[in-house]
Amino acid sequence: MDERKEEIEKENLDESFFTTIKEIEVGLESVEQYAPVYTPNLEWFENMVVEKKQQLRKKLIFDVSIFSIVALLVLSVVLFTLYNIPVVFFALQGLVAIFIIGYFSIRLIKQVKET
């Protein structure tokens, strides 16, 4: 008896689930059919593409310039310290090496602890 009751409940659930999906579909279909969309002409899209490509080119030039300036600055500092104050140069090398080893060790320990 209980099994039959469960079966009926399941059937009702399936049916109401299906009805809900159907109602969602009907609602979405009305948006698809009746919400107005104005599609611009081809020329508008072409202009948009040209404009976007120009923006991308400008951004690329800007990024490359910034990268080159920073790289040149870092290189100048490294070369300056190497030839004029070698103690600072080697101290920096040591510090960077310790930092890298420390960073990866902590990450490894964290990963091991998590697993």
Binding site: I24, S30, M48
Partner: protein, 174 residues
């Protein structure tokens, strides 16, 4: 010109090919975004952002899925990122305000704004989107998972729970 050919030309930098691809898919994209955002203005803004992103990333399009599916995927992720940045509270009053314009547009064409749409509008974006993709556009759980960068199991449970929530809401209203 066929879609494949247009994509090849667009990849080689042909602006007319890009324009034709966008022209062909614009309405589909905006209507998808209207269903997702429930806001015609946001849908149009996002469609333009999607096209801009598409120009930038066209070299990554492998042609495994249809171009329209790829656009949907970009648009979905843009919308989710945008909402995450806003971090606004999902307030019912606010949501009603958001879809008021769409409601008005439908009603002005003698089309009824259904309770199901209201109920769908109340759901969180990451629940509403998989329901729309699954039950309106017919994508599989795996495809939706790929689009939203989630496992198909997660998508399946979100769709299921979302429909249960809509059903509950409809019963409350009915």
């Amino acid at each position: 010109m066929e879609e494949g050919e247009l994509i090849r030309s667009a990849k080689s930098g042909d602006k007319s090919a890009f324009a034709m691809l966008f022209h062909q898919n614009y309405s589909f994209l905006v209507k998808y975004l209207m269903k997702v955002t429930m806001n015609p203005d946001t849908a149009e803004e996002l469609a333009q952002e999607t096209m801009a992103r598409c120009i930038e990333k066209i070299h990554l399009y492998q042609g495994k899925s249809k171009f329209s599916s790829w656009l949907i995927s970009i648009a979905t992720n843009l919308y989710i990122d945008q909402q995450r940045k806003k971090k606004r509270e999902k307030n019912w009053q606010q949501q009603e305000e958001i879809y008021r314009k769409l409601k008005w547009q439908l009603e002005s064409r003698n089309e009824e704004w259904t309770d199901a749409l209201s109920a769908l509008g109340k759901l969180a974006d990451d629940v509403r989107i998989p329901i729309i993709l699954k039950h309106y556009y017919g994508y599989s759980y795996d495809e939706i998972g790929e689009m939203m960068k989630l496992s198909s199991g997660t998508i399946k449970s979100r769709v299921h729970n979302g429909i249960l929530a809509v059903r509950k809401e409809l019963r409350l209203n009915g």
